[in-house]
């Protein structure tokens, strides 16, 4: 898994430092969407000398290199996740904070169509659903 991010770094000419390898590894192994603080905590357990500035610099670099995706969900800090081929959107449980990833082709298509209707080519988009669990 971690190979993956490291390979991407090579491909993009991003220098592979120990710090970056650790951050890459942690993000690869994470199935949630940590914010920088949380990522810093996890990173610190492996190498306590890494500074939070480096974490900020690295996630920004990785984002610009198309390795990580940055999300700014409601209420505060930016959160990150590894960017893979399959695009997905997010459904956020407003009570628990749990995040569910989903894919819906029809919505993707519709978005293209709307942009097109106004004379635009879509370069990015953001869809977040906020919901509460239904009683069964």
């Amino acid at each position: 898994m971690s190979e993956n991010i490291e390979q991407k770094c090579l491909a993009k000419g991003v220098k592979l430092t120990d710090q970056r390898k650790i951050i890459a590894k942690i993000m690869s192994e994470s199935n949630d969407h940590p914010d920088v603080d949380e990522l810093y905590n996890r990173v610190s357990k492996i190498d306590s000398k890494i500074s939070i500035a480096t974490v900020y610099r690295t996630v920004k670099l990785f984002e610009e290199s198309g390795i990580l995706a940055k999300h700014e969900f409601k209420g505060g800090k930016a959160r990150y996740e590894e960017l893979n081929e399959g695009h997905h959107d997010h459904l956020i449980d407003v009570k628990s904070g749990e995040i569910i990833e989903f894919v819906d082709e029809k919505i993707e298509k519709l978005q293209e169509k709307i942009a097109d209707k106004y004379g635009y080519r879509l370069v990015d988009h953001k869809l977040e659903l906020y919901g509460v669990k239904k009683k069964p």
Copy 2:
């Protein structure tokens, strides 16, 4: 127009101060999506003694009262617009920063359906399209 927000305040039991009236009036008359700084600028032209803290407090209050909608588009400051019956989403021109509002029933329906599929009832959602103008 401005009557509108003032009426909503009365209905919600929100005390109507001079400052709030001014902010309400400006938001009613604005067709764009000003951030707090910009709103503060506009407000200052009418009453230069209003502080930015009051502007922050008021937009937050208005948001909680369902009078304004808060948007956190890419890259920085929160922006506000008057909340009216008709819900709409946003298409943002990434070159010029221009914001186009659009409504699409099909997308709204699809979102409900997706939430439902995962056992959730939708309480809120956010859809933002980022695009560049096509050559004709």
